[in-house]
């Protein structure tokens, strides 16, 4: 069933310039960031900070997903994904910029506005029940892990590891374009072997520090896995969009065939099921055990203090059906995975619902009455700042991608598996 790449790709060196697009992406990015900064003068600083956290986390998750996919590709010696891998490698160029964009959140925390984002950073904050964070046994026991120094060091360490792994993977892959030396493939395989372990640990750490600790009373051993499933699914979806964009531009004509799309579509399907499995397990175990330190997290997202079904409850329903059921049924079909016009809407939807999932996990940390009331509703001005943050960071992300794009060949032409990839067959 393959469209064999009999016609050799004519424009192998990516001399097709990407700079006008890059400037446009940067423009969108700066516009989004400026709008978010304007938000600081319109809304509460805490709300805008959480929106910014959502925006940076969304794109960092996608970059992490790309990093993990590149390493999974190398460790399994996969052949079908060689062409897709190159686009992910360009995406990895965004890590230093994401670190820069995350930095304001750390700086604000150090500047003493401790209650801006993570409550546990302020030992004097009064919590539910009248006592302070510093005297809260649930904080004291976790204080060795949850303190500003550790937070800063671990966030820095995560970004350093991601940037370092990306640099190694990119260097080896790009160098192979020139000399075709097999040692680069072997080097990447070794990087992947320890990089996957490092990646798993760092992405878990990051998700716990950045998102889960917003409610530091809460426990969930599934959280890192939940973050990973969203990250990889987001990266695959962005990968599909990039491949289709390059195909329509003419770059990948004769290279991208239906079987590569079929394979990537199957992976998105697999991660749809994986996400559902993990998310359901988290909910089910907490529901079944019925321990107050855990159930309160879902109560915040389902009912008001008066016990009425809240707006967040509806968001949860949208996630249940939109994050799982809809893509699950849609992606069962073979045609929906290989037809360009059919796979495109579903990956855009998946990216949107991943953003909503992140908002669902982050935004309810923002509560009325100085943190003692119900979570502020989903539909509010804060959603606008979340949107501008996602657009702003996204612009920078694609700017980094486009700036990296001309640095290497369009596809890894001297990769030992490239022929197998171009004639990839079901």
């Amino acid at each position: 069933m393959s469209t064999h790449a009999a016609t050799a790709p004519a424009a192998l060196p990516s001399e097709s310039t990407s700079s006008p697009c890059a400037c446009k992406a940067l423009g969108v990015g700066v516009a989004g960031i400026v709008l978010t900064i304007i938000g600081l003068f319109v809304s509460d600083g805490h709300a805008v900070a959480l929106s910014w956290l959502t925006g940076v986390t969304f794109w960092t998750a996608i970059a992490i997903g790309m990093l993990m996919l590149v390493m999974i590709h190398h460790i399994l010696d996969a052949s079908w994904s060689v062409v897709v891998r190159r686009q992910f490698e360009h995406g990895l160029a965004a890590f230093p910029w994401l670190a820069l964009l995350f930095a304001p959140l750390v700086v604000v925390s150090w500047m003493g506005s401790h209650d801006y984002i993570w409550t546990w950073m302020n030992p004097d904050a009064v919590i539910h029940g009248g006592h302070t964070v510093g005297h809260d046994p649930l904080y004291v026991k976790k204080a060795g892990f949850l303190n500003l120094e550790m937070f800063t060091a671990m966030t820095a360490l995560c970004f350093i590891i991601w940037i370092w792994l990306s640099a190694r993977l990119r260097k080896a892959s790009f160098a192979q374009d020139a000399d075709g030396d097999l040692k680069w493939t072997l080097m990447n395989r070794k990087t992947a072997a320890f990089g996957l372990a490092l990646g798993a640990i760092t992405l878990t750490l990051a998700s716990i520090y950045w998102i889960k600790s917003l409610e530091y009373h809460w426990f969930s051993t599934m959280f890192g896995v939940w973050f990973f499933s969203n990250a990889v699914r987001g990266a695959l979806s962005v990968g599909v969009l990039l491949m289709l964009w390059l195909y329509n531009r003419g770059d990948l004509k004769g290279i991208l065939n239906t079987n590569q799309l079929y394979s990537i579509g199957m992976l998105i399907f697999a991660f749809t099921v994986f996400w559902a499995y993990v998310t359901f397990s988290q909910y089910f175990l907490i529901w079944n055990a019925n321990v107050p330190e855990e159930t309160f997290w879902y109560n915040l997202r389902e009912i008001t203090k008066e016990g009425e079904f809240s707006q967040w409850g509806w968001v949860g329903m949208v996630i249940l059906f939109g994050h799982f059921l809809l893509p699950f049924l849609y992606l069962l079909s073979y045609r929906n995975k290989i037809t360009h016009t059919r796979i495109k809407p579903i990956v855009i939807w998946i990216l949107l619902i991943i953003a909503i999932d992140l908002i669902y996990n982050i935004a309810p940390a923002l509560k009325a009455d100085h943190g003692h009331g119900d979570p502020l509703p989903f539909l509010s001005i804060n959603l606008l700042w979340t949107a501008t943050s996602i657009i702003g960071v996204g612009g920078v992300f694609f700017w980094a991608y486009l700036k990296s794009f001309p640095k290497a060949k369009l596809i890894p032409i001297r990769d030992p598996r490239i022929n197998e990839c171009l004639t990839h067959h079901e």
């Binding site: 064999h4 359901f280 079944n288």
Partner: protein
């Protein structure tokens, strides 16, 4: 030899020959025919005009049946047949019926897929006329064959033979039924 042969078998020396011959047979409109090759040839299914497998609907039906069975099983046992409060939970909730439904979805999908596959391809088949011919031995070794069955509506001994010859087939023989 009986009056009506099972079909005609033609031999080809290499992959491109059999591939292009398959395209000709496909374009001539034959339905009941097959290629015998010692190894899988990428793209041959398209050259033969073979459509995608019809197994997926069987899998889907199996999956839906499994999910419903799981839900009904838990509903019947815990909310109807033997009502028992466990851990302060309701008699029935889709939440705790889910693990069972999920497992049964996978199990029934697997059964339906395997069953549907055997149903559609007619296996196990204990006898096939091609096995009587010596050609099958070379077809499993270093030669490629096309067999057109006489059950095909377009089959006509002379015309079909001419088509195979024109497609480059050598050593064309009638297969005993």
């Amino acid at each position: 030899m009986s009056a009506k042969p099972y079909g005609l078998i033609a031999t080809f020396d290499n992959t491109p020959d059999v591939y292009h011959a398959a395209e000709k047979v496909r374009d001539a409109g034959y339905k009941n025919w097959d290629c015998i090759t010692p190894f899988p040839i990428h793209g041959l299914d398209r050259a033969m005009g073979v459509k995608r497998s019809k197994v997926p609907p069987f899998s889907l039906a199996g999956g839906l049946l499994g999910f419903t069975t799981g839900m009904l099983l838990i509903f019947w046992t815990s909310a109807v047949d033997y009502r028992l409060i466990v851990g302060g939970k309701p008699y029935f909730s889709p939440l705790y019926a889910f693990p069972v439904s999920y497992e049964l979805t996978i199990l029934f999908t697997a059964f339906a897929t395997i069953g549907g596959m055997f149903f559609l391809n007619g296996l196990p088949m204990h006898y096939h006329p091609v096995l009587k011919s010596d050609k099958i031995l070379s077809g499993m070794d270093d030669k490629f064959h096309i067999v057109i069955e006489s059950s095909d509506p377009k089959f006509n001994l002379a015309n079909t033979k001419a088509l195979l010859e024109q497609a480059g087939g050598k050593d064309i023989e009638e297969l005993e039924a």
